[in-house]
């Protein structure tokens, strides 16, 4: 029996190998580019999108290969150093692509892709080398983070999206009195905690103005305004689920989508999953009003660049790959990212298809604030976002104070961060 299985496997491998040979060895003179992504769920959409590119570039054929998101970094960093790697590949943003730049795996695109002019400077920052300031990727899409609310639940309890902090707390009390969890927050998926902190309290520390000061070295994370901002989550703790630390992102998405919670702080990327859990959800979005003592008096919209496409330095098809990257800077591609991939494209002038996404982007364009730890403090280890996530979890468990969390963040970041 075992031998027979062995032979079957061998036969299968042989068959696959010969199939692969015929596929790559097909005799047309088109150049095949290999494109890598960390979103296997998007492969079909990419193939559809790339048809447009193939029509305009009959001599190039792009093959999409996707790997699991959680394994992608490892696969990519080894793939770039050997044969059989990608020509063009999806890159993590900000600090996430620095190791690849440091290792010399990527080609700077500033002078090679003229279409980069179709992006705002802040979008290009997501794909910039920290040391040389050069752009190594064509920005693909961005995310925003805000509070979704269930319009039906709000209407049932006669609540309006709050304009002030007090109104928000009053709404939360009303909901809690009715047995509904006000905010569906997850403490088990700790990566969400820094986002909660920025979403509820970037206004408290000052948003982009604080970012500038802390990058210049004028303030540190032990600044009273930043400590107070961290402490805002403590003040909201009673409105979070009682078992928050045992709940993950999907748990709280389900709580919200099934009406057990009225609001959920979530990313633009959660729109699709929320609608999958409950297609009848009647959703609205708002940003947290500034808490007492806030430095910025109007709500801010948290946002950041998620991904870009870069060029493998060892690719044998530099010319063709640059043509593909140039096409990725066009409104034609950007619109497909919005319509087919259902993401927020960063190409100037492209509008998201979903009106709710359009609201988020409009809010971001009007009053943006960075996801501070991701955008600026992931260029060295320990990562700022990891320090903050671990610290906030301890703070919400009552094991650390906001001041101690801030001190730990500062201690970790100061190991590698030079203003």
């Amino acid at each position: 029996m075992r031998t027979r299985t062995g032979f079957a496997v061998l036969a299968l491998v042989a068959a696959l190998a010969s199939a692969a040979c015929t596929a790559t060895g097909s005799t047309d003179d088109r150049t095949t580019l290999s494109l890598w992504s960390w979103r296997p769920e998007d492969v079909a959409a990419y193939e559809q999108i790339l048809d447009t590119f193939h029509d305009a570039h009959p001599d190039i054929r792009v093959e999409v290969k996707a790997y699991k998101s959680t394994e992608y970094n490892t696969i990519l960093s080894t793939g770039l150093t050997r044969a059989g790697g990608p020509d063009v590949m999806q890159l993590r943003a900000y600090g996430g692509l620095q190791p690849l730049i440091d290792a010399g795996d990527l080609v700077p695109l500033d002078d090679r892709v003229t279409g980069l002019a179709n992006f705002e400077k802040s979008s290009l920052d997501g794909a910039r080398g920290k040391k040389d300031g050069k752009v190594y990727g064509v920005p693909l899409e961005m995310s925003t983070f805000q509070i979704y609310y269930d319009k039906d639940v709000f209407a049932k309890h006669q609540i309006e999206p709050p304009a002030t902090w007090e109104q928000m707390l009053a709404a939360a009390r009303t909901l809690q009195g009715a047995g509904i969890t006000p905010f569906a927050t997850a403490g088990k998926d700790t990566w969400l905690l820094p986002l909660y902190a920025d979403m509820f309290a970037a206004t408290r520390y000052g948003g982009p103005a604080f970012e500038k000061k802390v990058l210049a070295g004028d303030v540190t994370f032990t600044d009273p305004a930043y400590v107070a901002a961290l402490d805002v989550l403590n003040q909201l703790k009673s409105f979070f689920p009682k078992d928050m630390m045992a709940l993950g992102e999907t748990d709280v998405q389900t709580l919200f989508a099934t009406g057990k919670a009225a609001m959920i702080p979530e990313g633009s990327f959660a729109l699709a999953p929320l609608k999958t859990i409950n297609p009848k959800l009647n959703l609205g979005v708002f940003n947290a009003p500034p808490p007492p003592g806030a430095v910025v008096t109007e709500p801010l919209q948290v946002g950041w660049v998620d991904a870009s496409y870069g060029l493998n330095a060892t690719s044998e098809h530099q010319e063709e790959a640059l043509q593909l990257l140039q096409w990725m800077t066009t409104a034609e591609f950007g619109q497909q990212v919005a319509d087919t991939l259902k993401q927020v494209s960063l190409v100037k002038g492209v509008q998201p298809a979903d009106p709710l996404l359009a609201d988020m982007v409009a809010a971001y364009r009007a009053a943006p604030t960075p996801y501070l730890m991701l955008v600026d403090f992931r260029y060295g280890t320990p990562l700022g976002s990891d320090l903050q996530a671990a610290g906030l979890q301890k703070m919400l468990l009552g094991q650390q104070t906001a001041a101690e969390v801030a001190a730990d963040i500062q201690a970790g970041i100061s190991q590698w961060f030079r203003p």
Partner: protein, 299 residues
């Protein structure tokens, strides 16, 4: 000479496979741990910096020891459960006249499922919102006992240990079962004739004869615990960026390694994670060999 030559050719494939797939990776990890890395490129000789860095760099210095002690507790708890509950079930099964094989299979089934799957299933069972464990306690009027098992720093590690013991219970049952079946029945019968009670027979006759099995189970549990990863990873919701569990309550060495190597994206990830891997290997190797020697000398 001819015989030697033939033997050589027979040994060669295994030797090559072992060298390529076991010796080479181990040696390369050792080599990697002495270099400073920039992504996947070597950036200069680091000496022992990667090793000392584990103990002195914030926040690693605050994570290494808790992770170590959690791993030890994980080992101690699991070993205790296996050598008590596992042994008890094996003894009861051995005495059982019917359905012995069936029940042994039933107890062994979880052992055949991967740790990720077991962890995921238990995280669902224990979910305070949707999990049947909390609902069941509620239904029995014991709702006050229901708690966020994995979300409370006080209960998280014991819960993980219990799930792990449950997961691996089939192994001691099989091993003790085989050992019990191999015991010469004369010893027990002699004791019975001499008037020993069932407990005395177990305590004075069966248990001493089972000591080698207890040793084997303890060593294998130690090896498994030092390398444990997927169960804790899945129970904590599969994210590897920060110390696992509420306030880092279930963080173990395997997860610390995973963080350094894959999750944090540090440019020196290869050097630092290799250093931890080398330390882990040495500790595991030394303890396993010493314990094995000790057990052999005693039996």
């Amino acid at each position: 000479m001819r015989r030697r030559l033939i033997a050589f050719w027979f040994v060669l494939p295994a030797f090559l496979l072992y060298t390529v797939f076991a010796v080479y990776p181990l040696l390369s990890a050792l080599a990697n741990s002495f270099w400073r890395w920039q992504g996947t490129a070597r950036a200069g000789f680091a000496g022992t910096d990667n090793f000392t860095g584990l103990f002195t760099t914030f926040p690693l210095d605050q994570q290494l020891w808790p992770a170590f002690w959690h791993t030890m507790a994980f080992f101690a708890g699991t070993m205790l459960m296996q050598n008590t509950v596992g042994l008890l079930i094996a003894v009861l099964l051995a005495e059982l006249p019917v359905a012995r094989r069936f029940l042994r299979t039933v107890f062994t089934v979880p052992y055949l499922v991967g740790g990720l799957v077991v962890g995921y299933l238990w995280s669902l069972l224990l979910s305070p919102v949707f999990g049947p464990v909390g609902a069941g306690l509620d239904a029995m009027g014991l709702g006050a006992l229901a708690r966020p098992w994995l979300g409370d720093p006080a209960t998280a590690l014991p819960t993980v240990i219990l799930v792990n013991a449950w997961h691996h219970l089939g192994f001691p049952i099989l091993l003790f079962g085989a050992a019990l079946a191999g015991l010469p029945p004369e010893y027990g019968e002699c004791a019975r004739v001499d008037g020993a009670t069932a407990w005395q027979r177990f305590r004075r006759v069966t248990l001493p004869l089972l000591l080698p099995s207890i040793g084997v189970i303890s060593i294998l549990t130690f090896l498994g615990s030092m390398n444990t990863f997927e169960l804790v990873y899945a129970l904590s919701g599969a994210q590897g960026n920060q110390p696992t569990g509420p306030g880092g309550a279930t963080d173990v060495l395997g997860l610390l390694f995973y963080r350094i190597a894959f999750a944090e994206g540090g440019t020196n990830a290869i050097g630092q994670s290799s250093a931890l891997a080398v330390l882990l290997f040495i500790a595991t190797f030394v303890v396993a060999v010493t314990a094995d020697r000790f057990i052999r000398s005693r039996s």
